[in-house]
Symmetry: C2
Subunit: 301 residues, 2 copies
């Protein structure tokens, strides 16, 4: 029996003070639906940002209280299914995004969905690769708007956050107070105009505490690779954190000699952009699991 | 009849003042061999950087004088074959690279080559994806060490610079004074410990002037995509240049409406790291050619 949660149960900032709307046991399947990042306010190309209620943008469905979790625990969230239900919307916003200085006209466009694609202006067919832009847990203290990424997760806009991925977070408060939303049916690395194909969606997931001491978080795992995710005020700061935390993971947890780890990071690891448009900017460092296996390491299951 | 050039004909800085070692006609095939970035000085794991002659590191084979080229011309270089001949070498250098602060021991390791792979320490097999780290033309004035990327090309360390790619450069001086080297048999995006699998190699290529007014350079094209490459003192500056130049390409040359271009950059374009370890840092923005075709544009051939 899965627990279900609908998109009308949403919050707008990760915080210890937001009341949970669902309690689940560890390992219990959760089915939830998510709004698009505008809470469904932009339904046609005539709906502009002028009339948008900004206070209900970036909703995350939740918070979900996960029983038996306490501050300092490592929480693994397994995404069994991330499905875009469409339609999607994209916008341009003068002044916003990596090219905000040259974007002069606000525009809203609706992208219809087919079984496996989204259609941009009846012209460009883009294969769906649905992903969750916002996913995380409450910090130990304070309030972090859903627009913002950080050590707690949040608006990381990482294209790997999709079906089959596992995300690891450090729990900040009792119950973790997990939430997710901001699904994109498709998005390129960088998200340079500040949106992907913003879509409502459905998620099936489980969450449980695991024991991997010192794992840098947020951390992501899929069939092929692990990724260390880092956010900062500049990309230069973020990538420094990502590479140093990856090296620490490879030496202290995987047990690789430092020079092997460093050289293999350069040879088979990849530094990648997640997004450059949110209040903090996010990158990830990807490293193949096949190489971890050569050093006798498997992620505990 | 191809013109041939061997790796002993090398230079160490792109400059109008380096005498060309070969003259070729436009469209004439050139076969050249390249040294690894240490000019072959590190042959065993006992060869350390202590005895390295740094003055002959980062050699580029050339310069090649391409007949009929003059300042301001757009030069397209077609890479018909980029082949690693091995063996490869990797090093750690305390103080160098994105993790130089925590790399404490210098090490040299030799990677043997099989037909399609390189072998790291007898343990990790990595599929070869040979690429040229250094490729470019002389600037109009001054001298740019081969270690450094820039508007002329140089040490961009872009993993797309491989068989089947075309590179576009703006010619700085009569004859272009083209050169290339610093081949890697494999490398991850970021090149975070400052080297890939550094290998000698062989290249077959042609070069010719083409007419695409205002094309941002360096520019790369392969079967799937185009990429705008940008280097700067910080990644944050480099990506700003890359996205703005891509938008300019899509609007002014491809002819896309500005908002379409911007939204599609966010939806199907990807901002990627090339390297974060050279004197300037390099990123690229990739955009699919299939979408250019939807807007009626093909790269001229």
């Amino acid at each position: 029996m899965a627990s279900e949660l609908t998109r009308d149960k949403a919050f707008f900032a990760f915080s210890p003070d937001v009341e949970p709307v669902l309690r689940v046991a560890q390992g219990e399947e959760i089915k939830l639906t998510t709004h698009d990042c505008f809470s469904g306010q932009l339904e046609t190309s005539d709906d502009t940002l002028d009339t948008l209620d900004w206070s209900i943008t970036n909703p995350a469905t939740g918070p979900v209280y996960i029983e038996g979790t306490k501050p300092g625990d490592l929480l693994r969230v397994d995404l069994h299914e991330v499905k875009a239900t469409g339609p999607s919307v994209m916008v341009t916003i003068p002044g916003a995004g990596a090219m905000g200085d040259v974007i002069t006209e606000q525009e809203t466009t609706i992208l219809e969905h087919t079984d496996d694609s989204v259609i941009f202006k009846g012209r460009v067919r883009v294969r769906q690769r649905p992903m969750l832009g916002v996913i995380g847990v409450a910090p130990a203290a304070g309030e972090i708007p859903n627009s913002t990424p950080g050590g707690h997760g949040g608006n990381m806009d990482c294209t790997l956050v999709t079906t089959g991925a596992s995300l690891y977070f450090t729990v900040g408060v009792e119950g973790a107070l997990f939430g997710t939303g901001d699904m994109h049916a498709a998005m390129g690395d960088g998200e340079v105009v500040i949106c992907g194909a913003e879509t409502p969606g459905e998620v099936r997931m489980t969450a449980q505490v695991v024991d991997i001491e010192g794992l840098p978080t947020p951390f992501l795992e899929n069939d092929e690779l692990v990724a260390i995710i880092a956010s900062a005020e500049t990309v230069d700061e973020a990538y420094q954190t990502a590479v140093h935390e990856t090296l620490r993971f490879l030496t202290d947890i995987v047990g690789m000699p430092k020079n092997d780890a460093a050289m293999l990071m350069s040879l088979v690891g990849s530094l990648k952009f997640c997004q450059v448009v949110d209040p903090l900017l996010t990158v990830r460092f990807e490293f193949p699991k096949s190489v971890l296996a050569e050093y006798g390491f498997e992620m505990p299951r």
